[in-house]
């Protein structure tokens, strides 16, 4: 079965820009570790590119965009981002993206 991930986006246009972006992926592989999170630098494609894992984008209220994407992971990042507690996670990812 092809690998599938999902991600949550405040602004899905940023993910679909065709540029490398920083994001958190949830691994949807069945089993005990389903929904395990990884932080990555990756490129998202829509329509999905053959051979790449499928990516589903969810909104901040959890609604899933029915149009699938694919994701090419360029680099796995540390398990958390710099930022003081309660600071905006999406902004923390964008800061990491600029580095």
């Amino acid at each position: 079965m092809a690998k599938e991930f999902e991600t949550f986006a405040r602004d899905s246009a940023r993910l679909l820009s065709g540029q490398e972006v920083v994001m958190t992926l949830r691994d949807l592989s069945p089993g005990r570790t389903k929904y395990r999170g990884i932080n990555v630098r990756a490129v998202v494609s829509r329509p999905p590119r053959p051979g790449e894992p499928t990516l589903w984008i969810r909104s901040v209220v959890g609604n899933r965009d029915p149009q699938p994407c694919s994701v090419r992971i360029v680099e796995e990042l540390p398990e958390s981002f710099e930022g003081i507690p309660y600071s905006d996670f999406f902004e923390a990812m964008q800061r990491a993206e600029r580095r």
Binding site: F8, Y35, R36, I38, V61, Y86, D88, A92
Partner: protein, 518 residues
């Protein structure tokens, strides 16, 4: 400060010094302990397992032995249970996990189960539960320390800890991840004082050892973290205790004063002290009877994705990305552990628990502010956003004072219906009638707006309001204006208001004689 230790041989309290902010049961709190009704003390449950046995006996627990999926299925069953005022569930066979792991869903999501948790008959009326809580809350009992406890039967060091070894459920389709802390008791200690906080806060798993959580920044834990640890760039130890006795969880979820120790409150609600044991990797103490304890350190300088999550107001509102991040340092648990789950949403366990503790806290605050309050009810159907306040004397000035008082520090309740004292606050039909007919659509609406202390989980707020924590609360005045003359005030067309006492008596006698009940 002092704390009472339970000795291994005698089990009796012994004075000693300790670093925790807990009172000594032999001094300050001893008078309270002696006042307790021995019958009540006998009835309090020592742990989750004895409570589950009691609700099984009362017909309020269903055990499920067939395999059920941790990925939404068992939570969906629990969710439907909440929506249909159904039983609690004990899932004994969870897909992908050994039979040793179990999940108990929605321990006290109904007044019947809440009554059993208090050691009362399951059919006890909610009004009486409120009275019992209010009485016991006034009689705190300090915890005692034990050297060991059931929660230490299995110990897993941090480098061996793996959160995926626990059957942590995916509660709702579309949540940000699997949620561990839906019915928990999170222990933290203030960096600058002896204050120990117990709170109930949600935690999501990111990977084997990393958690993210959403104790709101205005919560006691959030305040401890931001005021005490973040400025010093220190990690904050926490302990997430799961599956303790229900009244300890109720105390953790309670609306309680800053610097108050919920462990004392739990002892008061139980009528006997909570036994605590020391954590493996910090100086925090957790209830010894806990089924599972996750010890962790909250980072002062790291963030990660948390949420979204279908929350107690009954919605997934898009609050995400403003959370805390913690790394697991140890896991301990009982043998054959039971993970507790609140299938969060409409009419969940937090609706009943916050209903009772929130209403009593509201009443006390209003009394302290000079509001002539006679009763308060927070109906679970209102998702902890609605309070009903009865007053001896109403009117615009009183309604405004009510909403001002209840929004001073943080504003979790956003709608308050103020009724006259002849309206039974526990009778939602009567309250709705009073609101619909007595609240003036122009003059009866009293709004307070605020910044920085709104409830970010309020579904009515847009994303900008949520980010700024700005919002509003309203008092809906369903009382008669006090300046109206009695002879000009409408009379309610109900049996108890529009008929003479003699006619009422005859009607009730006839009613009974017709076999229609009392």
């Amino acid at each position: 400060m002092r704390i009472a230790h339970k000795t291994e041989k005698s089990g009796e309290g012994k004075d000693c010094r300790n670093i925790l902010s807990l009172h000594c049961k032999l001094c300050a709190q001893s008078a309270h302990i002696k006042k307790f009704n021995p019958e009540e003390m006998r009835l309090a449950h020592d742990d989750l397992r004895s409570f589950l046995a009691a609700i099984r006996k009362s017909g309020d627990l269903v055990s499920v032995d067939q395999e059920v999926d941790w990925d939404q299925e068992l939570s969906g069953i629990g969710r439907l249970g909440c929506e249909r005022n159904g039983p609690a569930f004990l899932f004994n066979n969870i897909k992908d996990y050994s039979p040793g792991w179990r999940i108990a869903a929605n321990p006290i999501a109904t007044w019947r189960r809440m009554a059993v948790a208090f050691g009362l008959p399951a059919d006890t009326h909610v009004r009486e539960l409120y009275d019992v809580y209010a009485e016991r809350e006034q009689k705190p009992v300090a915890p005692v320390l034990a050297k060991d406890g059931p929660c230490k039967e299995v110990r897993i060091a941090g480098d061996k800890a793996n959160l995926f070894d626990l059957p942590i459920p995916m509660v709702h389709e579309g949540d940000g991840g699997r949620y561990l802390g839906t019915w928990d008791l999170v222990v933290s200690r203030d960096a600058r004082s002896d204050w120990v906080n117990w709170g109930m806060y949600r935690f999501m798993i990111h990977n084997e050892r990393l958690l993210t959580g959403f104790p709101r920044p205005t919560s006691h834990l959030g305040k401890m973290l931001l005021d005490g640890y973040v400025p010093q760039k220190r990690t904050m130890p926490i302990a997430i205790a799961i599956g303790c006795d229900c009244l300890s969880h109720l105390a953790a979820a309670a609306t309680f004063r800053i610097a108050g120790n919920e462990a004392d409150l739990a002892g008061g609600l139980r009528g006997k002290p909570v036994e605590l044991v020391k954590c493996e990797t910090s100086d925090l103490y957790v209830p010894a009877s806990a089924e599972i304890v996750i010890e962790a350190e909250v980072y002062p300088d790291r963030v990660n994705q948390e949420g979204p999550y279908g929350e107690y107001p009954g919605y997934r509102s898009g609050e995400m990305g403003n959370a805390i991040c913690a790394r697991v340092t140890a896991i301990t648990h009982r043998r054959d552990p039971i993970l507790t789950l609140d299938t969060t949403g409409f009419m969940d366990s937090s609706a009943t628990s916050t209903s009772i503790s929130g209403a009593i806290a509201i009443r006390r605050r209003l009394e302290a502010s000079g509001v002539p309050v006679t009763a308060v009810y927070v109906p679970p159907e209102g998702g902890v956003h609605l309070a009903i306040v009865a007053v001896r004397k109403g009117g615009a000035e009183v309604a405004q004072k009510v909403v001002n008082t209840l929004t001073v520090r943080r504003a979790l309740i956003s709608k308050i219906i103020v009724v006259d004292e002849d309206v039974d606050v526990f009778n939602v039909s009567a309250v709705l009638h009073a609101f619909a007919t007595k609240c003036h659509p122009g003059r009866g609406i009293h709004v307070v707006r605020y910044e920085g202390r709104a409830n970010t989980l309020t579904p009515a707020y847009d994303q900008e309001e949520r980010a700024a924590r700005s919002g509003a609360s309203v008092a809906l005045d369903a009382t008669w204006p006090p300046e109206w003359p009695r002879d000009g005030t409408p009379v309610r067309a109900t049996l108890d208001s529009m008929y003479s006492p003699e006619v009422q008596r005859r009607v009730l006698e006839r009613w009974s004689a017709l076999g229609l009940g009392k």
